[in-house]
Subunit: 209 residues, 3 copies
């Protein structure tokens, strides 16, 4: 029964992450001037890139090439991006897109934590895989769009995912339930706080000068 709960938690959080990140990625693709096929590709790479990297790291055939059922979530996210672009101008910076991005970050920090824990990784490995799962799709998309990944330039982007992974390990390690929910709440909460308060870190160069 415990396993059923874990599996359905994974399925729900995974679906949320796929829709959210496909929306964010497709929005970037529309802004970059791609044709419809390119927009779909960028949306799907953003949605599936992190999880595919995660599955390669834990040495199994990626879910993304095993089943078509997840594809519908990715396409739903792309469709939402097209709809959003019709009703609002500059959706790239709209709060709806920023919220979707934070939701995807939290969802994938959680799925990364779940899969890495199942694969028997150490606490360090769980946090590392959670972070890579969360930021991997966006970083891959930025490489495709020929720009330096957002995660390196945006100050508080990977840090919420690291905190989410740590909170998942802590809750699980204490033998408590609800690790998935705590991970999502911590990641999304710290990310939205950072965005809304404009938190940032000064360049290292300045600190050294």
């Amino acid at each position: 029964m415990s396993e059923v709960v874990v599996d359905s938690a994974f399925a729900v959080v995974n679906a949320i992450g796929l829709v959210a990140f496909a929306l964010v990625g497709a929005t970037k693709g529309i802004r970059a001037g791609f044709d419809p096929f390119g927009v779909v590709v960028v949306g799907l790479v953003t949605a599936f890139g992190g999880g595919t990297t995660r599955d390669i790291l834990v040495n199994r055939i990626p879910l993304s090439v095993q089943t078509a059922s997840n594809l519908s979530y990715g396409l739903l996210g792309v469709a939402l991006a097209v709809g959003l672009a019709l009703v609002i101008s500059d959706p790239d910076r709209h709060p709806a897109t920023q919220f979707a991005d934070a939701a995807g970050l939290g969802a994938f920090a959680a799925t990364g934590s779940i899969v890495a824990t199942d694969a028997g990784l150490s606490a360090f490995g769980v946090v590392a895989v959670a972070t890579i799962n969360a930021v991997g799709g966006g970083a891959l998309t930025d490489l495709l769009l020929d720009r330096s990944p957002f995660v390196l330039l945006e100050d508080i982007y990977a840090i919420p995912a690291v905190l989410g992974g740590i909170s998942y390990v802590a809750v699980t390690g204490l033998g408590l339930r609800g690790a998935t929910v705590v991970c999502v709440v911590v990641t999304v909460g710290t990310r939205l706080l950072a965005v809304s308060r404009g938190w940032d870190l000064p360049p290292m160069k300045e600190l050294l000068a």
Copy 2:
């Protein structure tokens, strides 16, 4: 005996793809002003990048690091590129290079379909791996050359590989023979038609405006 036919079909199509994509990649490297070693590296990355990604996705040690025998096909392609650069100016846009690119695309859509089918992936997984195998080497090369991958900007480039993968699945699913040949013909045919007729898709932005 059936397995022997499949294996030799794989070997022939794989050799064609390696020569063709090494030629295309080395031509890009010469144009970009690399030294001879860099030209060889870019040619080999283009030739072996897609298949290595495919093997990682189906969770096996890549053929490219298991055996040196394929290396000779890659080096042959690089040598052809050097020869081509000696006899024609601007080989990057020459019909011979465009034909080699289409041939590589078709060959690797076929090898991707064969390997993914052997690995027991679903129909969706076969089409996904065929497409990634076909466009992966070129996309990786474009990242190395610090530009946005061709596949996102060129309108009808990945679509022929998707159609090739679908036709492979269809022929195999109907229990017919010749799936490899059909896949190559569909991919190369639609790609060459798109190039010669100048088919393209409008940017998504325009469709939404």
Copy 3:
């Protein structure tokens, strides 16, 4: 007993490589104007990128996500880079950084050779994995910094790693001991010679003109 020697040789050389490449990567990150978190990420990607790629190629869960113990070497390298930036201007081109880069190149050519030999790859595969292990972290970092990988532009960078891998295979093949040391010495020696003498190769374009 032989295995203990191999394992401790791996551990020592791996630690050297991690510290050296984290220093080189973090120095690039400071120069690029990243904040402290970004500098740590770039340092760790440079240190762990090559070995993670190597482990994916030989189809095992990467060491980098299995254990936290290596992380301390990476962080030590980042700390050294920060210290270096405080005492010298332009550390990117300082001999100390170039020596660290050569040391990392040699160390990872050796760890790549050891792991690939253990995985049962052919002689060709050992040289290929040694080279990818040695140049992979730096190439990945350059992609993140949105520039064409150093390895394609710097003339004699991958070649020393190829020579180091070949020397490892030769010493092992002859049944002699000390393959790890020979590999490191050959790689570091040829790289430092190339840097100090300013060796380079002319662009292929010029050779063809």
